[in-house]
Symmetry: C2
Subunit: 243 residues, 2 copies
């Protein structure tokens, strides 16, 4: 199937970018040559950070973006980005979804993200999906669909700010960071649990309060063993994954 209009922006690699001011329409087969292990859908402020971290670590992703004004800006910064609607099956084929290992959905349209997840599960079941969630409710939907990695888009920055607030209030840096890590560990577990519960609001509310109580007790407890245990559990599970 012909991908049209497909605007391809060509440039050199990030290190020494130079761009050719040409818009080339290409057919799907030619894009298939691009056999990158990661495809990033949406290259705005979210996708760019994911992409830059990967590139800085030697992994070149295939980038898709559907906002023309964003494309223009990226072009001036020397990025190689494909223009197109990320929810189109033909475009996913063309981007190399059959060969890729990971799909990062970093668009800022929650409903479209869910559609893409369903589309990808149906047509590219081997692809591991990492999805940007707008909020808690959106995260539930993504978790229920079995998405491998779900990141609520403002969660970690808010948590980082909370850690900085604790430090400004006089909490020692290490302790503040540990509190943030315990909070995240606990909150992500609660998110998973509540996504699976599918209860009505009153059930969710009751559970939510219990979880908040658990967390407060955990963090405020003088019993250092307890926090250290969670700390260790986190580290050990991370090490296990490595092993």
């Amino acid at each position: 199937m012909v991908i049209t209009p497909l605007l391809m922006i060509i440039n050199e690699k990030l290190v020494q970018p130079r761009f050719i001011a040409a818009e080339i329409e290409r057919e799907a087969d030619e894009i298939d040559d691009n056999e990158n292990p990661v495809i990033i859908l949406g290259f705005g402020r979210f996708g760019q950070i994911v992409g830059r971290l990967l590139i800085a670590n030697g992994c070149r992703p295939t980038l898709l973006e559907h906002d023309p004004s964003q494309i223009d800006l990226l072009r001036r910064f020397g990025w190689k980005v494909f223009y197109g609607d990320a929810s189109r099956l033909d475009l996913l084929h063309a981007a190399g979804a059959e060969q890729a290992r990971l799909l990062v959905i970093a668009i800022d349209e929650p409903e479209k993200t869910l559609q893409i997840v369903d589309l990808v599960h149906k047509h590219f079941p081997h692809l591991k999906i990492l999805a940007r969630a707008s909020d808690r409710r959106h995260a539930y939907e993504l978790i229920r669909r079995g998405v491998e990695v779900v990141e609520r888009e403002t969660f970690s920055s808010a948590l980082d700010m909370g850690v900085e607030a604790l430090k400004l209030l006089g909490v020692r840096s290490y302790k503040a960071h540990r509190a943030g890590r315990i909070f995240k560990f606990h909150d992500v577990q609660a998110l998973q649990e509540m996504a699976e519960a599918r209860g009505d609001e009153s059930v969710l509310l009751a559970r939510s309060h219990q979880l908040a109580k658990d967390l407060e007790q955990l963090l405020q407890s003088d019993d250092r063993e307890l926090t250290q245990e969670v700390d260790r559990a986190w580290d050990i599970s991370a090490l296990r994954k490595d092993a």
Copy 2:
């Protein structure tokens, strides 16, 4: 000055919330009784995480929110939240800005955030400000205004997703986390530098490319000394802050 309409939602503390379905209008003086060290403006998905982390660590913040529908939801979850426009000087007074130590601006209106920063610098110069930035450009504006802590709202979640992507690609957990930490350290430094540069776009572009090159070399370098040095520098500066 009378604060009206000021909807105060009363409840018990987070641990065992029960709420009274009453809307009480209060005058500024009564709210002044609330002498919390932290005021949070905006209690949506961002402010809630900051607030929950503080509360879980024994610090009770004063919460302001201006979205009535959000207020209703928070109320069902047992939160004590003041309703009002965070950019109103009288409301800041009423919220205890004179006694507080930290102001967290977690609203999702970039322009209004800048206005509040200016207002607070003028009227409450002792207050340390932690501000949510919508994007890089907004972050520049906040840094140039001398805001103590600036967190780009999707940066850290995107970075976390990048770290997870590296892990799914086979990078060991510790190495992936370290790569994320180095990336953040480097990017925040670059943000600071470019905020101060105030150059035209071509200068920023050239500098941006140089910084990307530096980072890539840093992360891809086989010279472990280099990365370990940055790693150490980060740890040491964190320790110094503690000392």
